[in-house]
């Protein structure tokens, strides 16, 4: 398993786990979008990283 993909996956899980803890701050509503954005971005990176790793292994078995 690609270690980088695992790292990004763990980052996505940690970012997701913290979403309920982000407080409601009416003066700064943007902070509520940070967690979901991180989750999506790290999941995409994990997927791309895994595909990159898999394609390298197929080219150089």
């Amino acid at each position: 398993m690609d270690r980088r993909a695992v790292f990004f996956l763990i980052a996505a899980v940690v970012a997701g786990a913290l979403i309920p803890l982000v407080p409601h701050d009416p003066d700064h509503p943007a902070i509520r979008y940070v967690g979901p954005t991180l989750v999506v971005a790290y999941l995409v990176l994990a997927l791309l990283s895994y595909l990159d790793h898999a394609s390298r292994r197929r080219d150089h078995p």
Partner: protein, 338 residues
């Protein structure tokens, strides 16, 4: 007598700001030093200038958040003194151990710890909890955002430059760009970190009835002398720098080339700007560490020295409870002499 004590505690707050600059700003120039774009003394002068200039660019949202972390009705001169001493003690200890901890979180831990020693659980008001929860979540989010942005940036940049044969020209370009990214990062650092001390001084003056609490309703309502003195103190602290920490951050986490340095600093600067606009007291150290790890992991995940990163992470986790415990003890000592 009360006036003298207020002046003394303001002085201690500015010393804290100086130590903050000494401790944290060194991290902010680590990548410039590590990539040899600037000599250490040039880098500290460059960073100090932009630390000071930050007040011209960013609102004082973080200062307001810190000023409200302990409700004004609980604030006393002794409480602020104990909170500051807890934070300063923690910073000195971690600097002595060569650990990049966070002055910001030490300050928050110190204030809450001293507040808890004074009024018990009542210190955790709704406003305090909003700031604490924001701060706590962004202990994790700020390095993750820095890492994500720097990783994305370096991948894009590598994709753009990988066909260019003249690698020396690429390096030269990025060495020049690193001056810009270092300046942006120092602006973000100056804004976010100096504002924490402004918040403490504002809280002290409100508690001592020298300042009206309504100034906190305006993002730029603090008196100019507080703003200028805090930026001046952090800039001076930067000038004296903490070289032991520069070494840890700039060379031990992962080795950096100028291109990586630009990406790491730009990513960290963007994260700090976001935090400053949204009143989130984040750690410069956390942010740049995440960004440096992002650049390292874009090359190879094994390029990141995880044992050092783990040591750094432990210092982060321990900072708020550690400084809070020291501040509680300090407050109890203060009360004995009161």
């Amino acid at each position: 007598m009360a006036n003298l004590m207020v002046i003394a505690v303001v002085g201690i707050a500015l010393v804290f700001d100086f130590v903050n600059g000494f401790h944290d700003a060194a991290n902010s120039i680590a990548t410039v030093v590590a990539t040899r774009v600037l000599k250490p003394w040039q880098a500290v002068v460059w960073a100090a200038f932009f630390n000071f200039a930050a007040f011209l660019f960013l609102p004082l949202e973080v200062a307001n958040a810190i000023a409200k972390i302990v409700s004004p009705e609980f604030i006393s001169i002794g409480l602020v003194f104990a909170g500051l001493m807890g934070a300063i003690f923690w910073n000195v200890l971690t600097a002595w151990l060569g650990l990049p901890s966070s002055s910001s979180h030490a300050l928050i831990g110190g204030m809450v710890g001293a507040g808890f020693a004074k009024v018990g659980p009542d210190v955790f008001t709704a406003k305090t909890m909003v700031t604490l929860r924001k701060t706590g979540v962004f202990i994790i989010y700020s390095p993750l955002v820095g890492l994500l942005l720097s990783f994305t940036l370096i991948v894009i940049v590598m994709w753009i430059v990988h066909r260019i044969r003249n690698k020396n020209a690429v390096n030269r370009t990025f060495r020049g760009l690193q001056l810009v990214s270092a300046a942006a990062f120092s602006l973000g650092h100056g804004a976010n970190d100096a504002q924490k001390t402004m918040g403490i001084i504002a809280a002290l003056l409100i508690g001592a009835h020298k300042l009206d609490a309504s100034v906190l309703d305006d993002p730029n309502g603090l008196p100019l002398w507080i703003v200028l003195s805090c930026h001046g103190a952090i800039a001076l602290g930067t000038m004296f720098g903490g070289w032991k920490i520069v070494k840890t951050m700039g060379t031990k986490l992962t080795r950096l080339e100028p291109m990586g340095g630009v990406c790491a600093e730009s990513a960290a600067a963007a994260t700090l700007f976001f935090a400053s606009y949204n009143g989130i007291p984040v750690s410069t150290t956390h942010t740049i560490t995440g960004a440096i790890v992002g650049v390292g992991s874009a090359n190879r995940i094994s390029a990141v020295r995880w044992n050092i990163a783990r040591r750094v992470a432990w210092a982060w986790v321990l900072t708020i409870p550690g400084s809070a415990a020291v501040a509680m003890l300090m407050y109890l000592i203060v009360e004995v002499f009161n």
